[in-house]
């Protein structure tokens, strides 16, 4: 089946893993509950049945161990695709990711490669208990040696994961869990965009909205509402956080003169800070307003009954748009 008119992101990821595993026998899937259960979000559903326990591995409950052994397997020539069950639980593996996975290639002066992909369902909006709604991407993007990407739709989810697996660098692939069941079109025979290229999701003239992962849909909704108010917003789906495609954002801002960056992660030290600084440098004479950022607050992610107040939603983003346009 080449074209899925409406496929969920979760299913697209499943198809993507299948495609990678069929193409390369060295690709392994490992993590907690990924095998028999097919993953707590069913993203790896059916893979163990089709590819066997040797290639789809239920691991002990030990994130550092999962990533550490994946590194060892990669050194032996395998291409492990590791799942960390939830964003909030990646931290035991942070040491292995930052001190080993990120640095080993450089440490060996290029003589070894560690092509490990770490899939992490991330971000909030699913009414969960503590530690299941985190957006820790900045903590990883800040580390040289890692590549960080996050798809916002089914087609990107399908292609970007395969590209990440095929590459020789360690990649952290952040899956927007609140969008797992969102459906969109996928053509498995199309030619995908390069992995780290940003995409203009919607063209506009008055202001640029830059976002990634779960916030892209919110920004699309924002643009629709703004259009009714006579404002033309351009929406940029960043897709990649390391590297960031600054050129695409720059072109957009040189056209519109205004930028608002949106992410669930806290504004303080978030990806928006890097984008704001760099775009200000590159577009200083084009800017009509300071770069504004909309994101989480500098406080622990709240109980689920408050998360709608914490997360940047339609109205908070529109507020920032209004403020930027008022300059």
């Amino acid at each position: 089946m080449a074209v899925f008119e409406k496929i969920t992101i979760a299913k697209a990821i499943n198809e993507s893993l299948r495609a990678s595993m069929e193409a390369d026998p060295k690709v392994l899937v490992m993590g907690e509950d990924v095998g028999k259960l097919g993953g707590v979000f069913r993203v790896t559903d059916g893979l163990q049945k089709d590819f066997g326990e040797d290639r789809v591995i239920d691991t002990p409950l030990a994130e550092s161990g999962i990533v550490g052994t994946a590194i060892g397997m990669a050194l032996r020539g395998y291409r492990p695709v590791v799942e960390i069950q939830f964003d909030g639980f990646v931290f035991p593996a942070y040491d292995q990711i930052v001190t080993q996975l990120a640095k080993m290639h450089a440490r060996a002066l290029g003589k070894v490669k560690v092509p490990v992909v770490i899939r992490i369902p991330y971000a909030g909006g699913i009414g969960a208990v503590e530690h299941h709604s985190e957006s820790p991407e900045a903590l990883f993007a800040h580390v040289a040696g890692l590549k960080i990407v996050s798809p916002s739709n089914s087609s990107d989810a399908y292609w970007m994961l395969q590209q990440a697996i095929a590459g020789d660098d360690p990649v952290i692939y952040f899956e927007p869990k609140r969008r797992y069941h969102d459906k969109s079109r996928l053509d498995t025979e199309s030619i995908p965009d390069p992995l780290h290229k940003a995409r203009i999701a919607r063209t506009g003239a008055d202001l640029t909205l830059a976002a990634y992962g779960p916030m892209v849909k919110v920004c699309q909704d924002v643009a629709n509402v703004a259009a009714e108010e006579g404002k033309s917003l351009e929406v940029v789906d960043l897709r990649s956080l390391s590297p960031i495609d600054f050129d695409t954002v720059q072109s957009s801002v040189q056209k519109t003169g205004r930028l608002v960056v949106v992410h669930e992660a806290p504004v303080f030290f978030g990806a928006g800070a890097e984008i704001a600084a760099r775009i200000t440098e590159r577009c200083f004479y084009h800017l009509e307003a300071p770069v504004l950022r909309v994101g989480g607050f500098h406080s622990p992610y709240p109980p689920s009954r408050l998360e709608d107040e914490y997360l940047p939603g339609l109205d908070r983003v529109l507020d920032a748009v209004d403020r930027a346009l008022a300059y």
């Binding site: 050129d247 040189q254 056209k255 440098e281 577009c283 200083f284 004479y285 084009h286 009509e288």
Partner: protein
């Protein structure tokens, strides 16, 4: 790297410093020397025993050679990092100046990455902290503003490119990669300028930028805010006058309220720099000649009716230009440039004739390329275009580069003459004063004739008095008797 005597010395006489024996202590006592000057030692041989607060440690020397000097005796406590022994590693090389006992290590020693970095105290995990540099490393001189690919402020660019001697220009603020001027027609301005425009109610899109890379400057905004100036008006349109203050007490001037400060920027700044560069680089001499130009003025009137000159701008300036060109043909050595950097005089066999023009932006000097070979109609056409373009503020950078000589028409202001300053890089500038009816001795009788004064400033490095005088005399001679255009042309 050339081998200086001290470098060679340092390589021959190797000094060994009291090492950090690894316990974080800063000094040690020399307990016992096992060698003395003149002894042969080998790499790794223990030469002394030192004692720290904790233990006695034997120190091996890392050189082969002959002991030259022991710097301290037994029983002396020495700081870590101090030279304690020097070894002549090339004893067969004959006498050489040995380093004094307490000589500071030569520069070469550092370059060889020998022994521990100065002043570092090893820590558990490495060399330890190094003292940081307190002296700035010299940068290369910033290059002159490079030629910009996209049209920048014409006036500014002209002034900057016209110079041959590199003037100390503050480098244009490095614009980060990808900043293209006016992408999709967006006006470019930094935030304070945008605010100013907004406060003054000016649409940035209507402003012609004068900053580099097409950036709108504060001055541009002010200029746009003031009413449009007459084409020949001098530059620097005043900013809106501040609120009138109540008249001060008699005899007291309220300076604060009655002074207006305008930042020196853009064309004004560039012009000033060019003037300074020119005035203080080329020794200027100015010579004057007063000449009866009645015949030329009559010729002007005739030419205005001439069908060959129909539609073209015919005026005295045109003929002064022609006279200048003819005179230059007779004295081509004037048409040259002084290349200070290469210590050469560049004689040019083309004349790019600059015409000083006052515009709302300021003084600019576009030039007519290869004016010497143009026919009079061509010269008139180009002169006309040049002036019109300058008035519109649209003179291209190319038009303002490469000039060899210039005419400045001070006469339009009614001024008799002046002492013009050379356009940087040029050798001569002719000031054409007002033409006035004056009593003149004509054919032995005093008559009212049309008289003007010509002033020629020239670069005395290139043009000596005789040459300059002859040139000026010839220009005057043509204007006095325009038929010379035919015989001398």
């Amino acid at each position: 790297m050339t081998m200086t005597a001290s470098t060679a010395n340092a390589q021959r006489f190797r000094e060994f410093k009291m090492p950090d024996v690894g316990e974080g202590l800063t000094e040690a006592e020399i307990l016992k020397w096992y060698v003395k000057p003149g002894d042969t030692v080998t790499d790794g041989q223990v030469v002394c025993e030192v004692e720290t607060a904790k233990a006695a440690v034997e120190l091996p020397i890392p050189y082969d050679g002959v002991v030259h000097e022991l710097n301290f005796g037994e029983g002396v406590t020495v700081d870590v990092g101090t030279v304690i022994i020097s070894v002549d590693t090339d004893p067969g090389a004959g006498p050489a100046t040995a380093p004094a006992a307490v000589e500071a290590p030569p520069e070469a020693a550092k370059a060889e990455e020998e022994a521990e970095p100065q002043g570092r105290q090893a820590v558990l995990v490495g060399y330890g902290a190094a003292p940081s540099s307190t002296k700035r490393r010299a940068r290369k001189p910033q290059p002159g503003v490079p030629a910009q690919p996209e049209p920048v402020s014409a006036a500014l660019q002209a002034e900057l490119n016209g110079r041959t001697a590199p003037a100390p220009v503050a480098p244009v603020a490095p614009v980060a990669n990808g900043t293209s001027a006016g992408t999709a027609g967006r006006p470019l301005a930094k935030p304070p300028v945008r605010k100013l425009a907004k406060d003054l109610g000016i649409d940035l899109a209507t402003i012609v930028p004068s900053g580099p890379d097409g950036i709108i400057t504060r001055e541009d905004v002010h200029a746009a805010a003031a009413p449009a100036a007459a084409p020949a008006a001098p530059a620097a349109v005043p900013a809106p006058v501040t609120e009138a203050v109540a008249p001060a007490e008699t005899g007291v001037v309220n300076a604060a309220a009655r002074e207006r400060r305008v930042p020196v920027k853009g064309v004004r700044k560039a012009t000033a720099q060019a003037m300074v560069a020119s005035a203080f680089t080329a020794p200027h001499v100015t010579e004057f000649i007063t000449v009866d130009v009645t015949r030329t003025m009559k010729l002007v009137q005739e030419l205005k009716q001439d069908p060959d000159m129909a539609g073209l701008r015919v005026n005295p300036l045109l003929l002064v230009a022609r006279a200048f060109l003819v005179a230059l043909k007779r004295h081509p050595e004037v048409n040259a440039a002084w290349d200070e950097a290469r210590q050469e005089i560049v004689y040019k066999d083309y004349v790019n004739l600059g015409i000083a023009a006052a515009t709302p932006r300021g003084l600019i000097v576009p030039n007519i390329k290869d004016a010497g070979v143009k026919t009079l109609p061509q010269l008139a056409a180009e002169l006309g275009d040049l002036v019109a373009t300058a008035r519109e503020g649209k003179t291209s950078p190319a038009a303002m580069t490469g000039g060899t000589v210039t005419i400045t028409n001070v006469g339009v202001f009614g001024v008799d003459t002046g002492t013009p300053i050379l356009n940087p890089g040029e050798s001569a500038i002719l000031a054409f004063g007002a033409v006035k009816l004056q009593p003149w001795v004509h054919k032995g009788k005093v008559k009212a004739r049309q008289v003007t004064t010509l002033a020629l400033s020239f670069d005395h490095r290139l043009v000596d008095g005789e040459l300059g005088s002859k040139l000026l005399a010839d220009i005057a001679a043509v204007l006095e008797r325009p038929k010379r255009l035919i015989t001398w042309g």
